[in-house]
């Protein structure tokens, strides 16, 4: 390809793995685009950035990024990332996965990762459904939406993810849609610079399964919906940002605060217990 025409993002992707598996109109690729832009602007040494995914459509992100990348088991990217980060605190560790992976099967790990303030950034692409397995109900499916396992419409209450993250102790919580590419990339850049448990929810269309079953048109129609119904409210009370079927979407940066990370707490505590006999574990990995 003419180098003039090649996307500046390509060097950050495993080009030998293209084409990717995502459907036309899917928003996951858009989030990856935002993430790569955030990486480019972050100033991080990309040899020191690792991405960990679980299973599902978004779980495939790790495999396409030209970074140290780990495609783990269903629901378990957060505990894997916890081990990776603690074994080498010099790494910037990003968990990149879907709503079913992180909040159904992996819900317990999310809760504890945030509680501990583990120093990882969690990006959740929320498409309201299980895409890889054909469109089953997820813990994020809005009330009333049709899914293969809720064929008459979902009657189970969905999670309000920013509220959950906030309540569990995340230090940074933001939500954007794939319509808001600049804001999403900026949130990811801020997240990469932030110490502690960062949570970014990216709403994304699944035209093949979610939209089609609910007669919502294609990917572009969902983007139009995001554009029409999104309201930017930075600092919004996370209690108030729950989602409904094709209803209003509150987006923005909801939480940005400081709390000591798990490792900082351990080092501080052991230094007070053992005095000079204790060599702070994190110090050995601090940037020169």
């Amino acid at each position: 390809m003419d180098p003039e025409l090649e996307s500046p993002l390509m060097p950050y992707l495993r080009q030998d793995r293209m084409p990717h598996i995502w459907c036309p109109g899917c928003g996951i690729g858009t989030t990856v685009n935002c993430f790569v832009r955030a990486l480019m602007e972050s100033g991080l040494n990309l040899d020191q950035v690792a991405v960990v995914s679980g299973i599902g459509c978004t779980g495939r992100v790790a495999g396409y990024l030209k970074l140290d990348s780990f495609h783990t088991t269903h629901g378990r990217p957060i505990p894997f990332a916890t081990g990776l980060k603690l074994a080498n605190p010099g790494l910037k560790v990003v968990v990149y996965s879907g709503d079913g992976d992180l909040f159904a099967i992996g819900g317990n790990h999310f809760v504890h990762g945030a509680r501990r303030n583990m120093d990882i950034m969690v990006i959740c692409v929320n498409n309201y459904t299980y895409g890889m397995t054909g469109g089953q109900a997820a813990p994020t499916t809005p009330l009333g939406a049709v899914q293969t396992t809720m064929p008459f419409g979902n009657f189970e209450n969905p999670f309000n993810l920013p509220f959950l993250a906030d309540a569990c102790g995340a230090v940074y919580v933001a939500r954007w849609t794939v319509y808001h590419v600049r804001q999403l990339a900026r949130a990811m850049k801020e997240g990469l610079a932030k110490k502690g448990f960062v949570f970014i929810e990216a709403l994304s269309p699944c035209p093949t399964l979610y939209s089609r079953r609910n007669r919502l048109g294609d990917g572009v129609d969902q983007l139009k919906y995001y554009k029409a119904k999104s309201i930017i409210k930075d600092g919004a009370d996370t209690k108030e940002v729950g989602l409904s079927f094709q209803g209003e979407i509150i987006v923005g940066k909801f939480v940005d605060r400081e709390r000591p990370t798990w490792l900082e707490s351990m080092d501080k505590h052991y230094s007070s217990v053992f005095g000079e006999k204790y060599k702070p574990y994190g110090a050995a990995y601090a940037k020169a």
């Binding site: 495993r14 030998d16 690792a50 140290d68 990348s69 495609h71 505990p79 081990g83 790494l91 006999k277």
Partner: protein, 377 residues
């Protein structure tokens, strides 16, 4: 810690792991294994390493693998119910070839079973528990001293073959207190990770050496590796074709099966002229000993084969013995698990007599003696 100690098997297992270079443990409390991680949690701050108590055994068994890919030697410690939860990550360790040690201090089951009492009923679970084909390694210590010594072997074997290694203790071995001699560090042989000598660009994460085991790198070294639980090619990239599956799975099982003879670790006593051979492992070997002595005093030609490495099973050795032996007697603290392997290896060439026990305590030597006498008749 060099010197002579009077400690229990759980404590000794922890010291063995530390001596082997283990510097990261993720665990979840469960009787009768908890003392291992309690000791690790109290020892590690001043040694330089980490312990983290995770939210469950699922998390523990994958957190350790994250730590491996950042360069640490690791273990997790559990008992039956926790082991059941860890099974998905036994498979992940097998397919990603992540060296790690799973310590299982066995208790009676099924389910919650007998939390404070012994069993050896997880023997088949560690062999077959995770879905798909793979070959683990398992070791069965029978004393606190062996909890120290064999733990070092367990870590070394994990590094050498890049497989999940199971350390199959039981409640009695874990809680019995005995003399444990810890040698000087210089006298302990510790295997290093098989780091690649190749630079980024030339290195392929799953390109195996002649022994079928690939060399490793870790995150942060500039190799930009991809590691996946999907079937993958030598680059580590997913491959969804029968040919890719064949190549990977044949190598995963082959790296153990081809080295099966090197992985035989047994203790033999009086096998030369034995007519009846006791086959035992772990705590049961210590009950089998007195039964054998008594049988010998009564004139029986009885030998004892103790399995130290239980997986891979030493089939060829059993097959060889079967040519000269009348019967094998297999006591174990389960309803007949490893006896199936003995039967398979012996293939009808000799009689095989199971001495099952549902657990909760150990066998009475008398029960084993009766079976020996029966076999000798």
């Amino acid at each position: 810690m060099t010197g002579v100690h009077f400690i229990d098997g759980d404590q000794a297992a922890c010291e063995g792991a530390l001596a082997a270079g283990c510097r990261f443990v993720a665990g979840y409390p469960i009787t009768p294994s908890t003392e291992v991680v309690e000791r690790f949690a109290s020892r590690i701050p001043l040694i330089g390493g980490l312990f983290i108590q995770m939210e469950d055994e699922i998390a523990s068994s994958i957190a350790i693998q994250g730590a491996v890919w950042a360069g640490k030697k690791v273990m997790t410690v559990t008992s039956g119910p926790g082991l059941s939860l860890m099974m998905e990550h036994v498979g992940f360790a097998a397919i990603t070839e992540t060296p790690c040690v799973f310590v299982d201090v066995q208790r009676g089951g099924p389910s919650t079973g007998l939390p404070t009492l012994p069993a050896q009923s997880d023997m088949m679970q560690v062999k077959w528990g995770s879905h798909g084909d793979y070959e683990p390694i398992a070791l069965s210590p029978n004393s606190p001293q062996e909890c120290f010594d064999l733990m070092i072997n367990a870590f070394n074997l994990a590094e050498l073959y890049r497989v999940p290694v199971f350390f199959m203790m039981d409640e009695v071995v874990g809680h019995m207190t005995e003399r444990v001699v810890i040698p000087e560090a210089s006298a302990i042989e510790v295997a290093e990770r098989r780091w690649t000598g190749k630079p980024p660009g030339e290195y392929r994460p799953y390109e195996a050496n002649d022994d079928l085991v690939p060399d490793m790198v870790k995150a942060g070294d500039g190799y930009r590796i991809h590691v996946t639980g999907l079937t993958h090619d030598e680059r580590g990239y997913p491959t969804m074709h029968p040919a890719g599956q064949k190549k990977l799975v044949e190598r995963l099982v082959g790296k153990i099966r081809h080295h099966r003879e090197r992985l035989v670790d047994v203790r033999m006593d009086g096998l030369d002229d034995a007519e009846v051979v006791l086959v035992s492992f772990g705590i049961t070997s210590r009950v089998a000993g007195p039964a054998m002595e008594e049988a010998r005093q009564r004139g029986g030609r009885v030998g004892h084969l103790r399995l130290v490495i239980t997986w891979p099973f030493p089939s060829s050795l059993l097959r060889k013995l079967a040519k000269h032996v009348k019967a094998f007697v297999v006591p174990e603290l389960n309803m007949g698990q490893m006896v199936l392997e003995v039967e398979r290896a012996v293939a009808g060439k000799a009689q095989v007599i199971s001495v099952p026990h549902p657990g909760g305590t150990v066998h009475e030597p008398e029960d084993i003696l009766q079976k020996i006498l029966e076999a000798a008749r």
